[in-house]
Symmetry: D2
């Protein structure tokens, strides 16, 4: 069997030190680098400048917590059965971050990155936006990153993220293209279709150079922390047993014989 090399450039350790992307964990990181900067380091392989850090932190915090959701409910229900395995309760909550929720983030980033493969030479963004919307429309596909079933008429997170992008110098061609796609979609569909949070995140993540197929990873990792918050509350003030009792009772009421 021919062997290929197995190689990772992320980190190495000896008994005396741990080095991550060239930085000594104990000398250069702990006590000096915060959680946001460290996350940036693990994603991009280097520490961020101040503006990069501010933009990246904005992306990380925006989807961490949205109260009681299918995801936080899955975590709480799992915790109630396996409180000794907190890692499983977090994992259960992450597993629902799929096509319905996080998928629009990846899809919007793919749309942007495929429409604009070389952001250094953006070309005519109006034309690209028009062609993109027309192509989605002709395939009868939903354009990702615009419209929101709950946060309407406007998802307040999108303009906020774009404002931070403006202030930190991240308002480049992908942000422009996302805005133009939104405007063009409103024109073609004759409907109010403002950019939503995943559309704005996709634009900013593309400005950062993050490949579209790993964009949802940021939200997944951020949400992990939010789920720990739900576990802490569930431990103190549980709802899982009551949810179970109520739903079991209602769901099978038509099957259970009358007493």
């Amino acid at each position: 069997m021919k062997r290929r090399e197995i190689r990772s450039d992320i980190a190495w350790a000896t008994p005396k030190k741990i080095v991550i992307h060239g930085l000594d964990l104990c000398e250069d990181i702990v006590g000096k680098v915060d959680f946001g900067q460290m996350s940036f380091l693990l994603v991009f392989g280097r520490l961020p400048h101040a503006n990069e850090a501010r933009m990246f932190n904005a992306v990380m915090v925006i989807l961490m917590e949205h109260g009681i959701t299918p995801s936080s409910l899955a975590t709480r229900l799992t915790y109630s059965g396996a409180p000794e395995a907190v890692q499983g309760a977090v994992a259960a909550g992450l597993l629902g971050l799929g096509s319905v929720f996080a998928g629009s983030l990846d899809n919007a980033a793919r749309m942007l990155q495929q429409a604009l493969p070389d952001p250094k030479n953006p070309g005519d963004l109006d034309r690209i936006a028009a062609e993109t919307v027309t192509a989605f429309r002709s395939r009868k596909e939903i354009i990702p990153g615009i419209g929101h079933p709950f946060h309407k008429p406007i998802d307040p997170r999108a303009p906020k993220l774009f404002q931070v992008a403006e202030e930190t110098g991240f308002s480049g061609p992908y942000v422009d293209l996302m805005k133009k796609i939104g405007a063009e979609a409103e024109r073609q569909y004759q409907r109010v279709l403002p950019i939503n949070v995943t559309g704005a995140m996709a634009a900013v993540a593309s400005q950062f150079g993050l490949p579209w197929n790993v964009c949802r990873g940021l939200s997944v990792a951020a949400r992990a922390m939010g789920l720990v918050g739900h576990i802490i509350e569930e431990a103190r003030q549980p709802m899982a047993d009551e949810i179970y009792a109520r739903l079991e009772d209602e769901a099978s009421a038509h099957l259970r014989p009358k007493e």
Copy 2:
């Protein structure tokens, strides 16, 4: 059926705003609060002071990344089969953060919090340390938080974390007790048994007032970000297929007929 209340105090949303622990996501958080502060908010329900933030960030970054581990390997192998479901690859890597790895963090925090239920009235810490070590020894149980199979003689992360604790005012009774337990263990076992990273983390988390049974949650959430870093590298520079090919070949060589 008698109903009990279902209630969560974490967050609420209307179409126009999302409020988390009393802070408006768009007005008060995005662009202003960083990932570490936001994580603190989700764990403790309020934003941290500067010293709290520095100490908390140190705890969060210290276990995020340790290169190729069983956990990052599980993520990479899972990603190779389901690249469209990044959430599953992250979840798979988290699931190994159990008793062998993260367990010593919970166990050390439990030991400290049970030995010192009221840190405002610590009493005689020398006596408590001696009783704790004696009790573990008499039950033939391993004392959590001391010694390390690889980082020896000293796990460099523990003194570093204690140094940050000193600088930020977190060097309180739980940190003292952990140090005294380490010293007493060395005395009773006549072996070099320095405090390891989970022992130091457990002491600091206890200073923060975090219940012992959710301590591992912090490491689980932090590690999620590290695993995203491994997914990004695996997408660019894969090792999973080669691992599979090599191990399958070796593991079943004795079964496969000679050609």
Copy 3:
């Protein structure tokens, strides 16, 4: 670095055949061996005799499905967010099979196997039962495998499983010991404490020679199939969105401003 051998005795494959525990998948298994026999093969490394198959099938089917539970709810909620990743929805439901539910199975099996390490020489089972109950009682630990919060006074699955054990020749020393522990517990605690389903399963699994620490694996694998049934129903007749809407509304009602 010194290398140790990596070896698995389970299966091997060439382009033309797949061999599992010595049986050719296409020649000896598909069309001839049923799902229960095959499961037995994967657990014990050989096909079962008729009585073994009947007993094993009884153990497998008994916990596959229990309607709406925290586990099936976690699966349904996860499926609603990631319908393209059915594997994640199944995994989410399995993750709650921890100490609260499946743990009593492992714990009961451990209790039996530690009390009776050599079932070929059982000795005085009455004395062992008395010592076991006394030891649990003196440690103020709950005796696993007896009593049930819902199925009372008697969990009907336990006597049924013991009946099949009787009919198939599996009513050996572990079954006897479990029954004697139940009787002794009732005597010492002066309460009705009949053996529950996990107590009966633990006794039978121990008769099969299954190590206590993997017993819950059988239930986990069986439940996976039940969760697929819930996914099929959720796809046709969904409840996850309604659960989310109701619970979000109720849980944060006290936070949301009156309109």
Copy 4:
């Protein structure tokens, strides 16, 4: 808020009995119904006839076990870190059953069911096959269910499954269509492209009336049992630590300073 009904038709329980799809667990199932029949019941809501059971069992056993794979490796690596949470180790292994592996099963079933929405009125299968292959080819999409990277020239599991289908009366229009698509693909691409195991499974699952989007559920549930087999072996004869040690050493060798 307007409420919709929450309802499940699968099972109900009282303290004295558990009823699953109308069958009393203790009276009608345990000791009488085997694991394969019970799995059929949970998928289709009724017990199978003899031929259905034989065909269904063949589908269930065919993908349960394939030795050392990315999936079984993820399970073993996870078990090494969290041996107390067997459910997490099984879940980790299932999470890799995504688009690369199980996806072709769903995709093949979707292709068949969309091409032939009404199997009672199949129409001209030759024409449907030709149109299907032409459509995939014009979209430059891979035709699912044909060809195999390892099991070549022929995946032996496909003809075996078709043979059982023949013997049990399951060789209906979906099986015919799958065969015709395979033949047509070979004609159009001028390459040997025999039907693989997922193509054959998709055809049989479609004959059973299983919706394409839950087909992979069967394989996921079956594989859960196989993963338990790997956990049992890993507990007795571990490979995870050695895998970790070797791969960590090799992957970071280029980073680690020479001593």
